[in-house]
């Protein structure tokens, strides 16, 4: 288990990360969200011992992250880096060897991974000949080929098209099922919600939200109501607890200040009988994220 206890990092008088705590169990995925400069990468760098925390600690199974444990730690940095003039095989095997994997095993695994991720090219091809998407896949392969126990992924989906994003998400879920502890950062809220068992939202280094995505969403109440019904908008707007209404596709999205207003909306909308859609849900992670960011800016 990875335990981060009261981790703080200050650069001069600027606090990059403030009193961050979290736990990641085996087979669990922690999503880290926040604006640029919120402290996500600084958190990763402290976990990796690239920089020393001002206070707090990071432990792996109750102890420090030793050289032996590092062998089972995979890291995908935000700014991707590969040896451009080296062949795919040479560099993936090099990274695998540094993580204690035998070259022969890594060679076999590389072919398997390239097939699974639909990488266009041969292991002997130089990285500079690959497209950006394929190079990103190779980067991911280099990060996970040795079956890491602990995986840190900094913006793993940036620059990927939806098909490749889905492919990569599937592989992350596979690693999770194999028992890996995973922490990743992303701006793709749908992806975060899909992958994460727990998530932490940072704002200017402060932890503003933490917990399971569904719990976090539910904590905001079921204040989003999607409705497809012939009821006039002015009648809906006059209901107590309806804060605002906006058109969304074939229906309307009602923002409620009080979730209880949903019952009244349902009664009025169904007075004439059948309606095609009525869905009262908590706000999406994306909406929560925007709301929290806006709240931070107001402060």
């Amino acid at each position: 288990m990875i335990e981060i206890n009261d981790l703080t990092k200050q650069f001069g008088d600027k606090t990059a990360v403030s009193h961050l705590s979290m736990q990641i169990e085996p087979g669990e995925v922690m999503g880290l969200i926040g604006q640029n400069g919120a402290g996500k990468t600084t958190t990763f760098r402290m976990i990796l011992d690239f920089i020393d925390p001002t206070s707090g600690s990071v432990t792996w199974d109750g102890g420090p992250i030793t050289a032996e444990k590092r062998q089972k730690l995979g890291f995908l940095p935000e700014e991707r880096g590969l040896y451009q003039k080296m062949s795919i095989e040479d560099q993936v095997l090099y990274f695998a060897e540094l993580h204690g994997m035998k070259r022969a095993d890594a060679r076999i695994a590389l072919r398997d991974w390239m097939k699974r991720l639909n990488v266009v090219g041969k292991p002997e091809d130089k990285v500079q000949s690959l497209s950006k998407g394929n190079a990103q896949k190779i980067q991911l392969i280099a990060t996970v080929i040795f079956n890491p126990t602990f995986l840190i992924l900094d913006e793993p989906f940036s620059g990927l098209d939806p098909v490749n994003t889905e492919l990569m998400m599937q592989e992350i879920l596979n690693l999770k099922q194999q028992g890996a502890m995973i922490i990743f950062s992303s701006h793709d809220m749908a992806g975060v919600e899909k992958l994460s068992d727990q998530l932490t939202m940072l704002r200017h280094g402060e932890t503003v939200l933490q917990g399971a995505p569904t719990e976090i969403r539910e904590s905001f109440g079921r204040t989003e109501l999607y409705l497809e019904a012939p009821t006039p908008t002015d009648i809906l707007a006059s209901i107590d607890g309806v804060a605002s209404i906006e058109t969304q596709g074939d229906g309307r999205l009602l923002h409620l200040s009080n979730p209880e207003a949903g019952k009244t909306v349902f009664e009025i909308a169904t007075q004439a009988g059948y309606i095609p859609a009525f869905a009262q849900e908590p706000p999406t992670l994306d909406a929560i994220f925007r709301r929290e960011v806006a709240a931070g800016e107001v402060k």
């Binding site: 990796l48 690239f50 890291f75 940095p77 880096g81 590969l82 040896y83 540094l98 990060t143």
Partner: protein, 411 residues
Amino acid sequence: MQKKQLGIVIRQTFVNRLKTVGYWLLVLTPILILAAIAGISFIVQATQNNAAPKIGVVQNQALVHYLDDQHQLDADIKGYTKSSTANKALADEKIDAVLVEHEQQFTLTKRANAQSIDEKTLQSALTQYNTVKQAQALHVSDKTLQQLMTPPKINTHVQSQKGVNKDGANSSRANYAVAVALGILIFMFLTSYVGMIAQEIANEKSSRIMEILLAATSPGVQFFGKIGGIGLLALLHGAIYIVLGVIASVWLPKIRQLKNALDMLQGIDWSFALMTMLIVIVSIFLYMVLTAIIAAMVNDLSQVQQAVAPVTYLSLIGYILTFVLNGQPHNVFLNVLSYVPFVSQTLMPARLGLQYATITQAAIALVLEVVALYFLSKYGLRVYKRNVLTYREGNITKAALLSLKGLFKSH
């Protein structure tokens, strides 16, 4: 486990560079240049006209006989009774020069396109001719004349620290020549490998590969792994030259330039060669450690040259001082500098070659280098760790020098 990772990084750095065209250009270019020089020199020698110049001597049959008999001058001597005949022969390019004597003064008239005449030897021969003539006029016997004209013989013995060396002059000359040649070679090695290690570290840092590597290993493994890998390339480079030298000396002994070089190497004191080699090897590692520390400051590859420029200037100090060393055995400044790490790699071998320093003094310089290497590696690793994942803006040279100030600060 760290040892295993260190081995992997060394192997990767070594093999990767070994596969590049750049490394083999670095190794082979000096050989190709030498081969080209030797080839051009061979062609020039093979095609040059070796015919002896023809000198016409006017109205002086005695001089004609004297020059012919002496064989001092590599020239065909021909006598002319008339000056006009000699001048016509010169104009018709039948002879290369006309020599005329007038009251013991000689005039040599040459064609512009004449074969080369050794005027120094000619002057010496004419001086002797005049002396013989004067001696005959004074009725000096041939035996006495022979004694008068025999130059004294000087046997040179050099009293070095190791004792009397009968071939001292040759040995010292050989060692100095080798020391100067080594100075050039060492400078070339240092600048090449300083650039190579800087490129290696800067490439990984700027492309963020360093972050992936340091997630798996420690900064120490990367630091010493890179230095080890590039160091092995430098050693291989040196070994290739030694092997090629041996092969050339065995297979191509008839080439004149090579024979001259081999003759010079015969005069080498092998304790000098061994000590020089050790000093040079340690200095290469010393410079690479310093460069690795500074290169860790670099944000992208375009800053490499700027960052390592101070290191190149440092290596230039020892290189330049080697050329002013000859004839200054008691220069305190140079003597002290020859012990100073970063400068000693060229100065001490040169002093040793000139027998201005003993092998013990060279050993002291070597020990000082090893001590400097130990402490620079130990404390440099801290700075490397601090710099290698830090991306700064502004003047990189200034930042590099400031960073070195923190060398002995605790973590």
